[in-house]
Point group: C2
Amino acid sequence: MGVVSVGDELLAGAHPDLNGPYLAARMAEFGRRVERVIVVGDDEGHIADAVNALASTCGLVLVSGGLGPTLDDVTRHGVARSVGAPLMECPDAVEEIEGWFTRAGRVMLENNRRQALMPEGATRIPNAFGTAPGFRCEHPSGARVMTLPGPPRELQGVFGAEIEAWLSGNRPDALHRARASAAFVDLPESTFAEAAGAWLERGANPLVGVTVKDGILTTRAVATADAPDKAARMAQERIDGLVALFPERYLAERVDDLGAFVGGELRRLGVSFSLAESCTGGLVAASLTSAPGVSEVFGRSFVTYANEAKEVELGVPAEVLSEHGAVSEACARAMALGALERSGAELAVSVTGVAGPGGGSDEKPVGLVWFGIASRVPAGGEPQVDAEERRWPPLGRARVRRWAANRALAHLLRMARARGPQGAGESYPGGISPGSD
Amino acid sequence: MGVVSVGDELLAGAHPDLNGPYLAARMAEFGRRVERVIVVGDDEGHIADAVNALASTCGLVLVSGGLGPTLDDVTRHGVARSVGAPLMECPDAVEEIEGWFTRAGRVMLENNRRQALMPEGATRIPNAFGTAPGFRCEHPSGARVMTLPGPPRELQGVFGAEIEAWLSGNRPDALHRARASAAFVDLPESTFAEAAGAWLERGANPLVGVTVKDGILTTRAVATADAPDKAARMAQERIDGLVALFPERYLAERVDDLGAFVGGELRRLGVSFSLAESCTGGLVAASLTSAPGVSEVFGRSFVTYANEAKEVELGVPAEVLSEHGAVSEACARAMALGALERSGAELAVSVTGVAGPGGGSDEKPVGLVWFGIASRVPAGGEPQVDAEERRWPPLGRARVRRWAANRALAHLLRMARARGPQGAGESYPGGISPGSD
């Protein structure tokens, strides 16, 4: 099936089309695959061409947008031209629009009558969420054309109220589809692809896809089978097989925001933490505090850019800085220990590196980052400290910083999972700050 | 002309197509109108059909996405099928990809060789921003087809490096076009549109467009005239007129990243600064340290989430917290003063608020944020402190935090500009940290 999204603003740069992906995702839940979304401006000819192009190969065409009351809204005209029927005023639609204005305590304007126009023979699709009713009609090709309002709130409301029931009663085939997914951290797409091999082939069932965004690799499997439980089992088995390739990098079924996820996990596990950031300059703290309620396990962190700040705020010995420099194993260890001590937290991670573009040397090139990982288990016991060196390619300051922050998040998650859930929070002096969360 | 955007993820709901609107907006600057954007999944046949459909009516077709190394990336195959040419390995492309891996200190994987495939007779379009070179070829219809990488950062980089010059040299008509732009902070689109009035009409020359992204409103004017200097003058005059409407919110001709811009301005003006962040949790520091070289004026900042941390790290009096709470004018002032004192900087901004979703009350609802603004001019003189309250609509934790961080950045910029350039840096004890920047 196909979707036509209409609106000059969708071709102006600032407003991506949200209705096409929304409808594609929702349709997939009903076993219908959207093969193409065509985005056109408010132009009668372009709208008619797009509907014709889709109707020639698809049994169902959804059109959204351009149903407003102003003269530049011409979707009704474009669809009417495509199906070869004149526009007529629909009395039920006039009544619906008048009712909408009455309920809103306003009087219907004359130009809102335009919104009651639809191709002769079309059936109104009521819109309880705005002044623009939709309509369904048949294309000469036999395709069914459904025209819906453009504002996403209205479109989604009408979809739920009017389209879902029709879809449930009109499945396109006897097959059932199910999906499953898994999200990973610290896993490059090429490494994943190499390990997954033929499972990623386009003809495979389950069909497996991969997307990488903001440090998270997400893989999705869609299985097709003759029974719903069989499809669900196939999809989940494929995902389980993929998770088994990289168990230690697995996050969860689905993760939208790495910082919020790790912050949420730290909170759920009751592991209090702090940070000492140099080259990431607050990025790790900002990522983790995007998790609501994280104040239960997070009291403070330190952005220590200058050497003097590392000494004063974190107690890094002056000799460490003069002998090894700020980007060194010794400094990373001292920073993490300092954050652990000052915060009273159970876990502290430090980040110190050369983000670039300046500041690199042969010995310490741009992309070199040291991490310190300090912990105290049980709380009050002797601190343990570990360190890790990473060398990233010098692909720009923003990327080196983001990679370093993501790696720090992965360290926190790993340490907290290894420690396991504890009844922390209550006993943690730095946490629970009413208001600031 | 037409655009084909390729990617299963674009039909999966979460990721709207950003390349189509970007290319449509940029093409308009060169006098070329994008009439249709067709979004298809990673399917060879659908890609070929979409290219064929556009090539039959358009002289120029841009294709983006699906050039990755994995088996589900089949855009090369789809375009090759459309233009009727076999895929061949392009030696220059192999070399380009190998070079990319070498610079990144890695070894090219075998599946990256796929990225060097292009239709016989095609010309490579170099990509300095990732591993996927693009290519241009001719469709049997005579249309020119340009295939570009999908990640927006890469697409926009390649567009600027490779496509703009071609467009400038291949104008579709005898007219000349020139562009000018201006970026603003803290300016809602509706306020701007109200003030700009008829200048924003779609038929106007210069044609004025507006985009809002990450706290920056950017307006662009494209003027069309029969001589290049006349077009340039018209575009610049219109932009000057728009800047004159909001002079105090004007940033620069173009700003991509608000934090990096403000950090760069603070460095340029030689104003040392620090931060005390509660609800933004490090977001302001992370934004500012995205500016290279900012260590010259930035030594440290404080993320004080817990009340106890505000007391210990910033010296906020316990009575302020018990009487007024953490989200209060008194606390914001004390936090800013504390950061000023502890850091020895000339300027310090604090942020304390209710980001939500929990933690709100009738008196202090979600969206309430207090800012403290402390300064010391001249350095070593008496500190001055000011405060501001803002109430944002409770549209989600991420947005409230981002708005608050952007507002803090605007305060820093305003204060630093009011202070003017100084010979700071040398005398600032906290700054200049070799390695950490």
